[in-house]
């Protein structure tokens, strides 16, 4: 199993969080669970970087947040994607594809 590096690339955290929220609103813990689960435990998000990132995204208007009740009747803050967030997600996905394509090309070059 790949030892996950503790610091994900800056940009990719935002991309992953936005993608997660594209499926529906989540609270912070839920986002970490989702990413961990879908990536089959390869990507673990540090809480230390998640909340500052979420806060920055909220300030930039990509996500909006409000208090709600979680599955086990606990108060939690739910984040949802805004319209601008959706546009940002599309942009980031495009960039990511370009980046990975470029990297693949370099690697293929013998």
């Amino acid at each position: 199993m790949l030892r996950p590096k503790n610091d994900l690339l800056q940009g990719t955290l935002a991309l992953l969080v936005l993608k997660t929220l594209a499926r529906g609103p989540h609270h912070g813990y839920g986002i970490t669970l989702h990413i961990q689960m879908v990536s089959k435990d390869i990507l673990r998000v540090e809480e230390g970087s998640l909340y500052p990132a979420l806060h920055r995204m909220e300030q930039d208007g990509w996500v909006s947040a409000e208090w709600g009740v979680s599955e086990n009747n606990r108060r939690a803050r739910y984040y949802r994607l805004t319209f601008r967030g959706r546009k940002q997600l599309a942009e980031e996905e495009k960039n990511w594809e370009r980046l990975t394509e470029a990297v693949a090309q370099v690697l293929q070059f013998v």
């Binding site: 609270h27 806060h55 979680s70 108060r75 939690a76």
Partner: protein, 875 residues
Amino acid sequence: MSWIARLRGMLNRQRLDRELDEELRSHVEMRTADNLAAGMSPEDARFAAQKRFGNFTLLKEDTRAVDIIGWLDECARDFRYALRMLKRSPGFTAVAVLTLALGIGANSAIFSVVDAILLRPLPYPEPERLVRIWESSAKYDSPRNVVNPLNFLDWRDHSQSFESMAAISGAMTNLSFHGQPVALQGMQVSPEFFSILRVPPLLGRTFSAADGVAGQDHVVILSYELWQRQYGANPKIIDAKIDVDAVPFTVIGVMPRGFSFPKIKSEVWTPLALARTAEWKEGRYLTVVARLKQGVSLSQAQQDMQRVANFTAQARPDNNKYWSANVFPMLEDVTQGVRRPLWVLLASVSFLLLIACANVANLLLMRGTARLRELAVRSALGAARSRIVRQLFVESLLLSLAGMAAGLLLAQLGLRSLLALIPQNAPLPRSEPIAMDFRVLLFTFLASLLTAMAFGLVPALRLSRVDLQSALKHGTPRSGVGGHQALRRSFVVAEVSLALLLSVGAGLMLRSFARLISVDPGFSPEHLLTMHIWTSPARYFDNLKRSQYFDRMLTEIRATPGVRAAGSTHFLPLKRMFSGSCFSPADQPASSPSDWPSAQFLIISSGYLQTMSTALLSGRDFDDRDRFSSQPVAMVNHAFVERFYSGQSVLGKQLRVCWTMEKPVEIVGVVADARQAQLQDTPEPTIFLSNSQAPMYFATLVVRAAGDPGPIARSAEAAIHRVDPEQAVSDIQTMETVFSDSVSSPRFQAVLLMMFAGLAVALATIGVYGVVSYSISQRANEIGIRIALGARSANVVRLVLREALTLAVIALLLGLAGALALSRVLESLLFEVTPTDPITLASACFIVLAVSALAAVLPARRAMRIDPIVALRYE
């Protein structure tokens, strides 16, 4: 916008911290629960969850730091960048900052004056409840008439809206210092005066009701300045006895430094003992001040006073029929005459600021198109439009703040010279010092912010709307004049029309002032010395004694070498003072005095007319025949004859004059009209009474000198002291000074407006020049091509000029429309000049047009010399 959220974040700090705390805790709880479900022990579950989280506090700080860091970082970056940009074009920065400094500084200076006089509340506790109450006569068109003592007593006793009411009578007091008599301005006040103003004394006490009783009223309160100056700030002054008008008075108090009552410069306060005795029955001379009861409104007080006035009219109809009362808030009342001129000045100076803003906006636009490439690159690199706008706006803000700093320095200098223009004897309504205090600084700061928005926002918005493609391709400043042209032109049109507006205003004030000083006053002010005499009531209470005293004084003065003539009057002309009295022809049946007509009156000595060089139209002047006990005589002026005896001969007719009710007076002469209270007032019908027969207890002596009046002041004073060594003489001035002081306000306004108009025209000219020469440089290739194709230089110049003049004409039309719309504002400030005076309008238009044409011609001539080859090469 994200920065709004950030700002909100900074303000709601505590609440957001708590929420974040709760959020993080719930996260840990959820993970703990999951750990438990996965089979860990409760302690381990929680431990593992918290370990994953790391340091709580650090995490919270990091999250919250996103706000501040981001914001501050961007702010700092914007400021540093703006500073660099401004330093890179020092010429532009200098011109912009100077222009702004001029506009902001002028506003700051004028606002200091406006604030100190009109806006700052009076320096007493709860000043909004202070009012002044006047008698009002619709018949004589006098809404603010001084008050009769018996009426005052009735008002005080019967009104219900006031905590208390006090009466004031201004007086000169003779104090004696080391044997030298000195006349001081003082106030006689009823005892409630100090409790109404609620200013506690520095030493001792203020008047109590007991002090107002005649016989027990030999107490006096001194001003701080007098106590310092003459008594060496000696704390033992309380209970000391000093001689006031040759009578010993006890000093009971000293007022604190800076205490004053508006418009009356007083250094001593003595009690005014009023009683209901017959001798005060008819005269009106008191000023009344009062404090409203809590919760009583002004209109309620007004109605109350009208009710009381009706009561006095019924109690003493001879004196009070057709008279009522008016209540005015004190601040408004005191600033009556200066309010409109000051607002006009402030408006003018804000127009100046607008012109400065237009200039700087144009400068920014012109500089901006030179930076098109830089802005395009930034946009391509991902800067949001809002970011670019913000960046440009920060530059404007820096310019504005620099302008504010320089402007404040200019304002300080300007204010000092402004205040030096105000003559000593025509003081402002309020004596509190005018300085640039915190309120003025706050105003200046806000004005600078607004200024930055006014000139910075539009260019910033326009310039940030950058077409990437074409800008990156063509980036050179020679191309792409584009849509900014219209904006620049409209700024210039705005500038020129405002400059025209100010020029019209200045021209009107100038004409008005010129008209005013060319009015024939009816006397000859040259070589005339004036001085003021108040006789001690104790020594000259008897009318005969006073009459002889004045006669002897004048005889002595006339015998002094260098004196051509001398006389006295009870109110010197052009001091805003006059007296009125009712009268009736003696041969008509005696009706009630309330129905009699009224005229102004003046108590003069023989020789007064000759001294003043006022012409005698018929009959004779007062002379040695008219002694105290001989037949009472009077003179009237031409206006009197015209109004009441038109077509008849008035010599020999007799009048009953209310002022001197004992015996009717016989008219022995007709005097030419002369101005009395102020130059602006056309001469009213006036009755002249003889000072030898009805002597006032004060008078102003007028002395005509053979040459320069200054040197004879000492000998005149010595002559007076030969008659009474303890007579204090005050206010020694030449009549020319009095004349000049009386027109100081219109002169002040005219000078200031001329200055502002001059600056405005200068700025507008620079604006026109800048825009025209810029547009020429933009169109250099077009012009080059025209010349290459054979256009003659004259045609090129004509092309440029035509455009410039079209703009100028539009601006003139707009400016004229503005001048006509605002004309009513100036109406009350002008003397014999209509606000739509065609000569002024035409001259202003001509000047502005000529100056704009000049500003356009200079760059146009440069256009002629454009070398077509050079121009085309840079394509």
